[in-house]
């Protein structure tokens, strides 16, 4: 023992076998991921658990008084509060309007812009630029464009003889307006994902199909679309989750109005929590939203798995 301690080289050779390569790699790996894991625990899992607890309390943000009330907040939301179902309906309308529009537009643009041609970079930039534009600037500009009488959109419509509505002041049209402006803002992201997926498909497949006499539509339907399936799934899930979580866009464009026509779940949670200071109730609503998104995601993934088989 004393010998090994005095002799450094032998100490090293004596120690080394204690850690197998596998173990050492595991430790290194943990060290590498530990900053992220710490962040995850501190800033994600911690608050998530806290929200579950908050949702079981009646907690006034301003007075800081909290009382444990069990599932009362959930019962209130689901059975006592007519606003909740209206808000939920709005959230679904928003998602059902936004997801297909966003995805089909993203795919169309990607198909057009995935092959190199003169100016392709310019067009890709044009469609991607809104993604990196400030949401505030985006909303302010659109609020100007969508004015009832003086708005550019309605003036353009007037040229072709259409009397446009007062977009942001009529509940149904306001919903259409927030969906479409949101799609234009975010479509570039999905377009890039689709372009990447399209470029990963070997050109031989298409060439082979063409030799077999397949039409463009057949090539798309039988070759490209199935190969895009994993990407489509990812895009679907993130777009849907994003559409349920939409907040800034609503806050800036309509503030949930008119007549609560664009009052979606995330915005309603914000109102309950930070305008009326009912943090407990807001947390319960947030948990309900979490479950909805989770269920939709699981359904989609299961369907896709079956489909693949």
């Amino acid at each position: 023992m004393a010998d090994t301690l005095t002799d450094k080289t032998s100490a090293r050779t004596w120690r080394a076998p204690r850690l197998t390569l596998r173990r050492r790699e595991a430790i290194e790996a943990w060290l590498f991921v530990s900053p992220t894991v710490a962040g995850f625990l501190l800033f994600f899992l911690g608050p998530l658990v806290a929200v579950v607890y908050f949702s079981l309390t009646e907690w006034n943000l301003l007075t800081q008084e909290a009382t444990f009330v069990g599932v009362k907040n959930y019962v209130d939301a689901l059975s006592q509060n007519p606003d909740f179902w209206h808000v939920l309906r709005n959230s679904f309308v928003f998602a059902i309007g936004l997801v297909p529009l966003n995805m089909s537009l993203a795919l169309t643009l990607a198909l057009a812009l995935s092959r190199p041609f003169r100016g392709v970079v310019f067009f890709r930039t044009v469609f991607f630029a809104p993604v990196v534009t400030s949401a505030v600037a985006w909303a302010i500009v659109w609020r100007f464009l969508l004015q009832g009488e003086g708005g550019a959109v309605n003036q353009l419509l007037a040229i072709v003889g259409i009397g446009g509505p007062n977009w942001l002041r009529e509940p149904d049209w306001a919903m259409v307006a927030v969906i479409v402006t949101r799609v234009i803002k975010m479509v570039g992201l999905n377009m890039i994902l689709y372009i990447a997926a399209l470029q990963a498909i070997p050109r031989d497949y298409e060439a082979a199909a063409r030799l077999e006499g397949a039409s463009n539509w057949q090539i798309f339907r039988m070759v490209i679309w199935p190969l895009l399936a994993p990407t489509t799934l990812v895009i679907f899930v993130i777009t849907m989750i994003g559409s349920f979580k939409v907040f800034d866009h609503i806050y800036l464009m309509t503030g949930g109005g008119p007549e609560n026509g664009t009052l979606v779940l995330a915005f309603y949670i914000y109102e309950q929590g930070f305008k009326f200071f009912n943090v407990g109730y807001a947390s319960a609503l947030a948990m309900i939203m979490f479950v909805i998104v989770l269920v939709l995601t699981v359904i989609q993934m299961t369907l896709r798995r079956k489909d693949m088989r």
Partner: protein, 415 residues
């Protein structure tokens, strides 16, 4: 010996620490909603003058835009990071006072030398006091005035509101008439609601003045007033102006008074600081009178100290400094005072750098006769419940009475 030396050393360190403690610089954080350069310069001057008695105290003013002010303040309070002091709007006062987050400034103010608390007008303090307790000191008791674009009135060949007021003809009917004429003759909007937000965050500012001019009220003693005949008449007139005359900037449209797109708007004199750069001739006039005579409406804001702040005693001393006679007189150019001595002084009407005395006289008059905007412990809930019903009102084919019945149905359970 050794022990004695240790004790000596320790006591020296302690006494040094005790001596040096007051010498350590302290900072008070003060939230405000103005970002105006002129306002901030004045506030910083007041903070600077506090150094005469408190050489090591600095005051940092933090601007939070008005639209999110109350929410952001709440976040800071809830997050355990309260500012030491802050401005507070009248509609937030009851909620915050009831939640017990505001410090009672009464003892500090009554003891402050030369402060003369009794100089504050009792009606102006109403919202901020509860028995002996004082939860805020109003620094701005500012009536809503009509700001008009003289250039546009001249262009349309009209007498301006100030002239009409002088000849006793400035009422809700002439208000509607001139707005319509402006629209017809100049193509510009006749009137814009306060800051163009009358359909959204400033519903109360849009509806309240005409309703009071007609002798109604939005609510009183737990009863909704929107569905009473006076309120219906008043709102019907506004509705006609928006949709029949098309003289008020309609919902969803942007018409900025300050850039010359509207001939009139309603605002407080603190906004006059924006006027010198507006590029047109302008003036301020009282609100048009109605069947109930003159009924000015006052928006109020106070300085409060937060109970959970760590330096609340020091903060209270700063309030006493900021709202003494000298500083209230200084602030009066932007923020009309609640101190009788300042309000009645010649200096208030004649010393304003931007607004001529004859117009300032109307401001004093309005402060004297006016009533503060309504407020309620549940203001945020009431406003949120009202908002969708008021949206339904602002449609061309809306039945005003029916829409206002809807407003009452929505807010009555909360009153």
């Amino acid at each position: 010996m050794n022990l004695r030396r240790k004790i000596l050393a320790a006591s020296t360190i302690l006494s040094l620490a005790a001596m040096s403690a007051p010498v350590l610089a302290e900072e008070l954080r003060f939230t405000v909603w103005t970002g105006g350069e002129a306002h901030l310069r004045m506030l910083n001057e007041i903070a600077e003058s506090f150094k005469v008695t408190h050489p090591d105290v600095t005051v940092r003013f933090e601007t939070i835009p008005a639209a999110d002010y109350t929410q952001k303040l709440t976040f800071q309070l809830a997050g355990g990071n309260p500012p030491d002091l802050g401005w507070m709007m009248e509609d937030a006062a009851p909620t915050f006072a009831a939640a017990g987050v505001l410090m009672d400034l009464g003892p500090t103010l009554r003891e402050a030398e030369g402060y003369d608390f009794a100089d504050y007008s009792q009606p102006a303090l109403g919202l901020w006091t509860d028995g002996e307790a004082v939860y805020g000191v109003p620094f701005s008791t500012s009536p809503f005035m009509i700001f008009y674009n003289k250039t546009l009135f001249d262009e349309a060949g009209l007498e301006d509101p100030l002239q009409l007021a002088a000849s006793g003809k400035w009422n809700m009917d002439t208000f509607q008439e001139v707005a319509r004429t402006i629209k017809e003759k100049t193509g510009k909007w006749g009137f814009e609601f306060k800051d163009g937000q009358g359909y959204e965050s400033r519903i109360m500012h849009a509806l309240m003045p005409p309703i009071r001019a007609y002798g109604g009220d939005v609510w009183a003693n737990g009863e909704c007033g929107f569905d009473k005949p006076e309120a219906v008449q008043a709102v019907q007139q506004l509705h006609d102006m928006v949709f029949k005359d098309k003289s008020i900037v309609p919902p969803g449209e942007q018409g900025d008074y300050f850039s010359g797109s509207s001939a009139m708007t309603m605002n407080q004199i603190s906004r006059a600081s924006k006027m010198p750069e507006a590029g047109f001739e302008w003036g301020i006039a009282p609100l048009p009178s109605g069947p109930a005579g003159e009924s000015p409406v006052i928006g109020q804001a106070a300085i409060v100290v937060f109970e959970r702040g760590e330096q609340k005693e020091l903060a209270a001393e700063f309030v006493a400094h900021m709202t003494n006679k000298e500083n209230v007189a200084k602030m009066a150019q932007f923020f009309p005072p609640a101190r009788k001595s300042v309000l009645e002084s010649e200096a208030f009407t004649s010393a304003n750098a931007i607004i001529p005395p004859e117009q300032m006289a109307h401001v004093s008059d309005a402060i004297e006769k006016g009533k503060v905007l309504p407020s309620h412990e549940k203001s945020p809930q009431i406003l949120a419940a009202m908002a969708p019903r008021v949206d339904a009102l602002w449609k061309a084919d809306a039945d005003v009475k029916q829409a206002l019945d809807g407003v009452c149905a929505a807010i009555e359970p909360l009153l």
